[in-house]
């Protein structure tokens, strides 16, 4: 194997060939051009026209041109081994901005109902000095308050009124912050820069699950990935392949000496099956070995005590912030405890994670755990139910949503298949520990349905490792056809981004709110006495959960099936069933709004004509008084009339 393929692709002062120079300069021009085109494309986007494909159907062609150009420029930059990391960082950050800052720049206020809920939790915790009484369905936040109390501390010390201003920017910043642990993780398993940056690009192009908003899970995911990256950074280089160690050691299983660098000029494997293909494969493995990180003279096989202490502090912050992430961490560490190479690093953190999680769950979170333990046991006995629980029920969904659901599934399945192919075809990846990391979330699929989302959460936690396996398949180290192969992945990279935007932008019609909708919720909060009942069709009313401990909230679309049938049959009677007995001291408010209508149209949770029928039924019905109407939201106040 000749030098250029095995050389660590770093600085080089040799002059480029003319085509190479053209590619390099083209990639340098494309980055600012695509950034400018993206910003220009956002000047007049008719977001009010979003329907069943969300932002997809209103973003102008210029936006897609910018995305396609950006991807092309990134591929061109990847073809040159000497492209400075600053350019590649610029490309990735621009991709993050294009994907995740677009909604923030377009919308007048914070998107997504759950982000608004989390603002309400912070506000309530500040008002109550910690645990919020009468929290009802919000009581889970009392048990894992870390994220909320971190923001409460920030608001109180800065004197800011609310997190709403910066919460809207969470998606781009949360994704940008993930770049650091991703780079550290990937660089700990290979020195091939094309592979490292290709894996980073694939991660961001396939991360469609949308758990990057203002939420405990986005915070905990950063902490999780940091721990994993630090662990991998402490690892000795993977045991060299038989191909590269045969000459040095008789056993491929035994670890290489700490001070030996894998040799690129190694001889073919003793266990290879002799044909030319096997020889070529062994040579390729040897090249991959040569691009594994070299041993660091200061590195030893365990944790430096100080760094282990820091990691335990980070584990502690995860444990107090989110119920699922500690379980994902424990699962990942348990997997990494299996091979001898990672065991010495994984076991101490695993013990800390288990002890801290158990201590927290048996004390502060005990109320939640004790109530939900029976659900957990049920789900253990019916694991197949959990696996399928994340799949959409598409009965009356809008046509675009059916397409969207298939694209989501297709992208997730494609990532899984390509990662598996990477694992099978690029055998050296099996020694990196990443396949175990990719498989780590799978046991949790059987344990907990997590509100029907476990499949998507498992995908997110598997994605950092899976993206690397996909990259190893598509952009193998030491490839002779470096340039054509890098350019050949362009259509695939485009397809990934094309599929991602379906999942990520497809529900924006109901995730985006107008200022009028916020104003309607504020009206209700300001006028409703404590003990009032708020009735909505869905959860999509921004800020209506403010003061959640003072009011009773009914979301009609999530009631029992027979009650829903009653509501559809006779909307007035259906609503009266929930508000009957309301008094002047404890009235009921029925809030109808644009985003709720959109939710019903898009998801088909209830018939799309129900809001109109309900509004018409409430208008003039005894006890119901229209108290607010701003075009985007209508509020009825209800007090049960005295009997005749």
């Amino acid at each position: 194997m000749s030098g250029p393929h095995v050389r660590a692709p770093v600085s080089g002062s040799g002059s480029r060939t003319r085509p190479a120079a053209v590619r390099v300069w083209t990639s340098r021009v494309i980055l600012p051009v695509s950034l400018a085109l993206w910003l220009l494309s956002l000047r007049s986007v008719p977001i009010e026209r979003m329907r069943d494909l969300g932002l997809l159907q209103v973003l102008p062609p210029l936006f897609w041109v910018a995305a396609a150009l950006l991807t092309l420029g990134f591929c061109l930059a990847l073809t040159d081994r000497r492209t400075h990391s600053a350019w590649l960082t610029g490309y990735v950050l621009t991709l993050i901005a294009l994907l995740h800052a677009t909604p923030t720049l377009l919308y007048p206020t914070l998107r997504y109902s759950w982000a608004w809920k989390h603002l309400a939790v912070i506000d309530a915790m500040i008002r109550h000095g910690g645990e919020v009484p009468y929290a009802d369905k919000f009581s889970v936040y009392n048990d894992w308050p870390g994220f909320f109390q971190l923001h409460a501390l920030f608001l109180q010390t800065t004197g800011l009124d609310s997190s709403v201003g910066y919460a809207a920017w969470t998606p781009p910043f949360a994704n940008a912050l993930l770049l650091a642990p991703l780079l550290l993780l990937y660089r700990s398993v290979t020195r091939d820069r094309r592979l490292v940056w290709g894996a980073v690009w694939i991660f961001y192009s396939c991360s469609w699950v949308g758990q990057d908003y203002f939420a405990p899970q986005s915070f905990a995911f950063l902490l999780f990935l940091t721990i994993i990256a630090l662990l991998f950074r402490q690892l000795p280089p993977p045991a060299a392949t038989a191909a590269s160690t045969a000459a040095a050691k008789p056993s491929a299983d035994s670890k290489p000496p700490a001070d030996s660098k894998p040799s690129a000029a190694a001889k073919p494997s003793a266990d290879s099956k002799s044909p030319a293909a096997a020889k070529s494969s062994a040579a390729s493995e040897a090249v991959a070995d040569a691009l594994l990180p070299g041993p660091d003279p200061r590195r030893r096989t365990g944790w430096p005590p100080g760094l282990l202490a820091a990691v335990v502090v980070i584990v502690g912050a995860i444990v107090v912030s989110h119920p699922l992430t500690p379980l994902m961490l424990i699962s990942a560490l348990a997997m990494l405890s299996l091979p001898r190479r990672t065991r010495r690093l994984a076991v101490p953190v695993l013990i800390a994670a288990v002890v801290l999680t158990a201590a927290w769950d048996m004390t502060v979170a005990r109320s939640y755990i004790s109530v939900n333990i029976s659900n957990l046991i049920d789900s253990l006995t019916e694991p197949d139910k959990n696996v399928s629980s994340g799949l959409a029920a598409l009965g009356n969904a809008a046509p675009g949503q059916i397409l969207l659901s298939w694209v989501d599934r297709g992208l997730s399945a494609a990532v899984a298949v390509l990662a598996l192919a990477g694992l099978l075809v690029r055998r050296w990846t099996r020694r990196t520990g990443l396949p175990l990391l990719a498989a780590a979330p799978l046991p949790l699929l059987a344990v907990n349905a997590y509100g029907g989302e476990m499949l998507f959460r498992a995908y997110l936690f598997a994605l950092p490792a899976a993206a690397f396996l996909v990259a190893a398949l598509l952009l193998p180290p030491g490839d002779r056809r470096h340039v054509p192969r890098t350019l050949a992945v362009y259509p695939l990279f485009l397809a990934m981004i094309g599929a991602l935007v379906f999942g990520y932008y497809g529900k924006e019609a109901l995730n985006q709110y107008t200022l009028k909708e916020v104003a309607a919720a504020r009206y209700v909060i300001e006028h409703a006495p404590s003990g009032s009942t708020f009735v909505t069709l869905t959860e999509d009313v921004p800020d209506l959960d403010l003061d959640y401990e003072k009011h009773h909230r009914v979301q009609l679309a999530y009631q029992e099936k027979d009650e829903l049938q009653q509501l559809v049959h006779d909307p007035l009677e259906g609503v009266e069933g929930y508000v009957y007995g309301a008094t002047d001291e404890s009235p009921a408010y029925i809030v109808l709004s644009r985003a709720q209508d959109m939710n019903l149209y898009v998801t088909g949770a209830l018939p799309a004509d129900l809001p109109e029928r309900l509004e018409s039924a409430l208008s003039g019905a005894p006890g119901f008084t229209k108290v607010y109407d701003n075009g985007d939201a209508i509020v009825y106040r209800y007090v049960t009339p005295p009997p005749d």
Partner: protein, 127 residues
């Protein structure tokens, strides 16, 4: 006095300056900037200097990236744990929380000044 020692002394003082900034009106830009900068950088950096005086191994860009990441994440983790501890104890106030973090940062930054502390990690890994 070397620049490194001066920087550690500055780090030890940072929490108290943030505490001083709290005397400014609510949401005053200087107050927001001072407190934000302190929370994002100082507790994490002070902890890192004490816990890992020799810095991370590896090439320079990766070491810088790791230092920056751990500084931020460790700082957020420490701030989260301080906030949760104070809320759980029913003792949370803005001043107390920043005071706790200022004390923690000062103790960690000053302990990283101990004779021999700066090279300890390097020695541990030398073998």
């Amino acid at each position: 006095m070397t620049p490194a020692i001066l920087a550690r002394l500055g780090l030890a003082a940072s929490g108290w300056l943030a505490l001083l900034a709290m005397s400014l009106p609510d949401a005053a830009p200087l107050r927001v900037a001072a407190v934000t900068a302190f929370l994002l950088v100082c507790p994490g950096l002070a902890a890192l200097l004490t816990l890992r005086p020799g810095g991370p191994p590896g090439g320079r860009p990766a070491a810088i990236l790791e230092t920056a990441l751990v500084t931020l994440v460790l700082g957020l983790a420490l701030t989260t744990l301080v906030a949760v501890a104070l809320f759980l104890g029913g003792a949370f106030t803005a001043t107390r929380s920043l005071l706790a973090l200022a004390v923690l940062t000062s103790v960690l930054a000053l302990s990283s000044l101990r004779p021999g502390a700066r090279n300890r990690d390097t020695e541990v890994h030398a073998g």
